[in-house]
Amino acid sequence: MKILIVEDEAKTGDYLKQGLSEAGFTADLVRNGVDGMHEGLSGQHDLLILDVNLPGLDGWQILKALRAAGRELPVLFLTARDQVEDRVKGLELGADDYLVKPFAFSELLARVRTLLRRGRVREAETLAVADLQLDVLKRRTTRAGKRIDLTAKEFALLELFLRRPGEVLSRSFIASQVWDMNFDSDTNVVEVAIRRLRAKVDDDFTPKLIHTLRGMGYVLEIR
């Protein structure tokens, strides 16, 4: 998967590129609007990460030009200003998602993956990692053959992990996906929820599947 990053702020651009490369993507970085438009029109990328404030051409102009040229690649735009009009404008111009700076990198990664996955994979009806199995339709969870009773939210949480194995999920991403809570609050709700989920699916079993990455979030994987 090839991602084009258009970002003029040097450090942000470099770390975005490094982070995405280390997450397994091929990332190209350009630092101004004109190059961004040129590269974007070349048609060799699967996703565009676009800063709104750019020297030369701004993000809106690039987005407009791309859509006018019939390029349908998903576009995630980054903005430093959290203005409702900005959001609305971006989405109206054909952007697929947006993030307000400063954002957590894990959040960006999660959104990028969502955008790349969109419309491609039919959602599986049974999910499994190691000996943990989830039947999405029947709402049944088993581990090592044993039935585990989960509340609706616990089930949704576990499903989120199983659909994104190996991905670091930030607390705010989890809160927004499972509870539809879309503002950052300084509480440990997600921590408590994960602890309870672990008590049911991890504590009495090996290997442990849900891991904490301090300061980043949580990941489900076999270590």
Binding site: V100, A104, W179, M181, N182, T187, V189, G215
Partner: protein, 476 residues
């Protein structure tokens, strides 16, 4: 022109002058009329007297010659009196014997015994006329006139003098009026002086209210009240800047210390990872604080304008209870009420109510209870968030919604949650109030509703044994 529009002094002075002129003019007109009438009466008296005299003389004279002689005798020494007697065959007597007298006699054919005013050859006369029975049996016609130039001259002079006096009085009134008005405006100037002295550093200054005339008392007290409000907001702003610096300094200090200490000597990978994770947590807190501050700054400048989309309040509360309920592990968390739809921004309202719920959960003892209810009261949607717990003192209630105020001094949280909740509610055209009794602390959010349904709020909330709490907190 602009001086006329703007100067109260000038306007007052001119108004005084106009008034004085009008009053004097009316008085003058009245006096001159009455002098005129008095003169006319005197003249009439004299003329009728002369007429009676001539008739008396005429009755006893037996020829025109003796009549003329007697009349001449009687009129000796009279100035300004004209007498003409005409018989059937022409003039009998003329006094004075000149052409003007003849003209006068000729022009007064229709005059009777009521005095008339006539002008002949530029002279003003008052005239009476009538029949004169002579001793020789002829009925003559007599005309008696008086030259009234003395009187008209006098009246003219009087009027000229009077108008001069009026003009002088008007000018004097303007001058005095300016002085008086200036004097009257002194308190206003004092207010202006005081206002001019006040700067950001001297907001404590007030205009003394006891020295001010009652007409200006309202202005002065409004002005002082404005100063008081300014002083308070300014103080809050200064405090806020200091608080902000302090709030930002603390996490930055932590970051700096731990980074410096860690870099002081080589360490293992795990230690570095720990350090960076810990830094990340601080950065996150800083980002959140800055985002919150920006939100509040925008809200205070009226830049937060929520879109007007339908938001289901009860559903929103249920969702919040679902989420934050996870934190209320040992406490009892209840939700009741009926669905109400308000217009606004769902995310913002979620945040406002969420902040109140977090606050309630954090301040409820382990075995306490937290209640959330949605109902309708007086055409508005009311969301109540109440929790059992220690009473918040009245003084703390007043500043509860200010930034960086933490009721318990624990230092937990950003201290911005309630301020943000209030900003959001205000931006939605609603109000927020807090009250606290010995057992229950309650936050009441009111949001405008547009439909016209019946109230559903209960006087005593179910499940909360305490008495109804009516003491409203700071709702500004």
């Amino acid at each position: 022109m602009s001086a006329w529009r703007h100067s109260i002094t000038l306007r007052l002075a001119l108004a005084f002058a106009l008034l004085a002129t009008l009053v004097f003019a009316a008085l003058g007109t009245y006096l001159s009329r009455s002098a005129d009438a008095h003169m006319a009466e005197l003249d009439a008296h004299e003329l009728l007297g002369k007429l009676a005299l001539a008739r008396h003389v005429g009755m006893h004279e037996s020829s025109p010659g003796t009549l003329s002689a007697r009349l001449s005798d009687a009129l000796i020494g009279e100035h300004g009196v004209t007498v003409a007697v005409d018989g059937e065959n022409g003039p009998i007597f003329r006094w004075p014997a000149n052409q003007a007298t003849g003209e006068l006699a000729a022009t007064t054919a229709k005059t009777g015994e009521t005095p008339l005013r006539l002008t002949i050859d530029g002279h003003d006369f008052r005239v009476v006329a009538g029949a004169l029975e002579t001793g020789w049996g002829e009925t003559a016609r007599i005309v008696v006139a008086r030259d009234i130039r003395h009187h008209t001259d006098f009246l003219d002079q009087m009027q000229r003098d009077f108008w001069l006096a009026v003009l002088a009085a008007a000018l004097l009134t303007v001058v005095l009026g300016v002085l008086i008005a200036r004097r009257g405006m002194d308190p206003v100037r004092d207010i202006a002086h005081t206002a001019g002295r006040i700067s950001a550093g001297k907001l404590a200054e007030r205009i003394p209210e006891q020295d001010v005339p009652p007409e200006l008392a309202e202005l002065v007290s409004a002005f002082n009240a404005m100063l008081a409000r300014l002083e308070e907001s300014f103080e809050r702003l200064s405090d806020f800047s200091a608080d902000l610096a302090h709030e930002l300094r603390t996490p930055i200090h932590t970051l700096r210390m731990q980074t410096e200490v860690s870099l002081a000597r080589p360490r293992g990978v795990d230690e570095y990872r720990d350090l960076m994770a810990s830094n990340l947590e601080e950065y996150e807190r800083l980002s959140r604080m800055i985002a919150d501050m920006l939100f509040l700054a925008k809200a205070e400048r009226g830049l937060v304008v929520p879109p007007r989309e339908p938001v289901r309040l009860l559903e929103l509360c249920r969702q919040l209870v679902d989420y934050y309920g996870i934190l209320a592990e040992s406490q009892q968390l209840e939700l009741d009420g009926n669905e109400l739809i308000v217009r606004g921004d769902r995310l913002m309202l979620q945040r406002a109510l969420g902040n109140l719920l977090i606050n309630a959960i954090q301040h409820t003892p382990a075995t306490g209870r937290i209640g959330l209810s949605v109902c309708r009261q007086e055409g508005a949607a009311v969301v109540k968030v109440r929790n059992s717990g220690p009473q918040i003192p009245a003084a703390a209630l007043r500043t509860l919604f200010d930034r960086f105020v933490r009721a318990d001094q624990s230092g937990e949280g950003s201290g911005l949650g309630l301020a943000i909740a209030r900003s959001i509610v205000l931006a939605h055209g609603g109000s927020i109030a807090a009250s606290s009794t010995g057992e229950v602390t309650e936050f009441i959010i009111t949001l405008p509703l547009t439909d016209g349904q019946a109230d559903t709020c209960l006087a005593v909330p179910p499940g909360f044994g305490g008495q109804p709490h009516q003491d409203k907190g700071d709702s500004t």
